[in-house]
Amino acid sequence: MPMNDPLQIRLDVENISVMYGNGHAALEGASFSLSGGTICALVGVNGSGKSTLFKSIMGFVKPRDGMVKINGQPVREALKKHLVAYVPQAEEVDWSFPVSVRDVVMMGRYGAMNFLRIPRAVDRAAVEDSLRRVGMWEFRDRQIGELSGGQKKRVFLARALAQDGCLILLDEPFTGVDVSTEDAIIDLLRELRSEGCVVLVSTHNLGSVPEFCDQVVLLNRKVLAHGPTEEIFTEQNLTSAFGGQLRHFHFEQSTIQSHDGRAVKVLTDDERPLVFGKDGHLEYKNREGREDLLKKRKEEL
């Protein structure tokens, strides 16, 4: 059903530098490339330029140097083709606004609609299809403020689906979201990847990155490292990316004796912590029987 050919999607961030009004650099010579289908985590502390990078990809910020290209073209061209979809953070939305769930998802279709934005049958079908995919069709006539945190997130995901973009930007998709919604969102992102989309997820939720992201971009004004999760998402890289800004908890044998007698190190950037075992391998939930989690990410790439 996608009208944009998803197999073609490619994002090139070429050596971009962005300055704030006060002359400080928000991004300095950041470069990386992604092509569909992939789920890539954008990881970095607050102020590392994650949101500036998003704004550059959406064309709101013009880099002083360098260029963002989508399918080899400037961002402006890609926006005209509605290739870029954005899922905002919950705080960015006025939930008291007099619009229904269906109205919000329909907004994703505006780019494809005529001058007066009168929905055609194809638009209605796309909205219904998207709402069904996120399991929110029964809630279509609710005012958006009447939803729970996870439901709100699903509605905006449905809007991105209805828009039929194949470069999808998600800002902190798991904040304020219950576990079942988190799993549902991850399943949906995997479907999008298999359809050939590039999904770029900005997140503080380090622990969930190896669960679903096959690539990682480590950002601290520059791109410190990027590539497959297995190679990039290491204790050494993360420690150097975050310096002293991550919370470190070092559990010695003396503190956790039941943990196989091993020492673990927990890295957390506020959200779900990232846990490394003594020899530097990753720990994650339900590890037993899923020892090859990271290898799987590589196969998905």
């Binding site: 939305v93 606004f97 007099p98 505006y110 007066l116 009447e146 729970s148």
Partner: protein, 282 residues
């Protein structure tokens, strides 16, 4: 006393008719302004019209053109001051429009004219003539048409400007378009209700409707309905009580808001306090 007596006088029928048209145009605009957080933009633009009117009078240009340009200068100047300083929009707006209003007052006292300051400030709905009625209709119908036909775009601009830009809507054009429509609406409302009370007509109907509605189209209908009711009743009351018609209209709008706040306000609050109330296993 015959309550319907005002309807027998053509000038009062005209006042009700043209007042209602202005009220509906302002009410529709108010829905967008309330949702965009621009409630006081109407106040700012209306005050800043004064120097434009006086200057237009000085050079012999149509007063409406002068007023329109001054209003636009205020709206654009506010954005400009905000962008090149660290000031927030409301502060920039306050400085710009009071400054323009003060220039207008000074000019007014220095320029001998047959303009009536109180007509500019408070309007003269009952003294409105056929030429002015045509003027209002020429502006009000196109403004209403653009607002209603492009309401979905304007709504997205208010609700989620990021999404509007990502899907390549002409965000800048919509932003300035809304300001131009606002300036036009205020300029033609001037003769009828004056620059002080037009502010109320540009906020209150939208605020009242917001309390009653959780869909935008419904909000537009409710705002327009309260505006028309207030105009018809306000003109009648003003006839019987010999009070300023514009003031009576605004008083009615305020009363409807107060009533809505007591009845619907709490209902709306309770409804939205309980998000996802009967969610099913999500």
């Amino acid at each position: 006393m015959n309550w319907l007596e005002p309807l027998e006088y053509p000038f009062l029928r005209d006042a009700m008719m043209i007042g209602s048209l202005i009220a509906v145009m302002c009410a529709v605009l108010s829905c967008f302004l309330v949702l965009r957080g621009w409630s006081l933009m109407g106040d700012a633009v209306s005050h800043s019209l004064l120097p434009g009117i006086v200057l237009a009078y000085l050079v012999g240009a149509p007063l409406l053109i002068g007023a329109f340009l001054a209003g636009l200068l205020c709206a654009v100047g506010t954005g400009w001051v905000k962008n090149i300083s660290r000031l927030k929009e409301d502060t920039a707006m306050g400085v710009v429009f009071t400054g323009l209003f003060a220039i207008g007052l000074v000019l007014f006292s220095k320029v001998p004219s047959d303009l009536h300051l109180d007509h500019i400030l408070f309007g003269n709905l009952l003294g409105i003539g056929p030429a002015e009625i045509r003027e209002v209709m020429w502006v009000a119908f196109p403004v209403l048409a653009v607002l209603l036909l492009k309401r979905r775009d304007f709504l997205l601009l208010c609700f989620d400007p990021v999404q509007a830009r990502v899907t390549a809507l002409p965000v800048r054009l919509l932003h300035y378009g809304l300001l131009v429509l606002l300036s036009l609406a205020i300029v033609v409302s001037l003769k009828a209700v004056g620059i002080i009370l037009v502010t109320a007509m540009l906020i209150t109907p939208g605020a009242t409707a917001f309390l009653w509605s959780d869909r935008f189209d419904r909000m537009l209908w409710i705002a327009s309905a309260t505006a028309v009711c207030s105009t018809v009743l306000g003109v009648m009351i003003s006839f019987h009580s010999d009070a300023s018609p514009a003031a009576c209209i605004v008083l009615f709008q305020a009363a409807l808001f107060a009533l809505s706040w007591m009845l619907a306000g709490r209902r709306g609050h309770r409804r939205r306090e309980n998000p996802g109330g009967n969610e099913t296993g999500i």
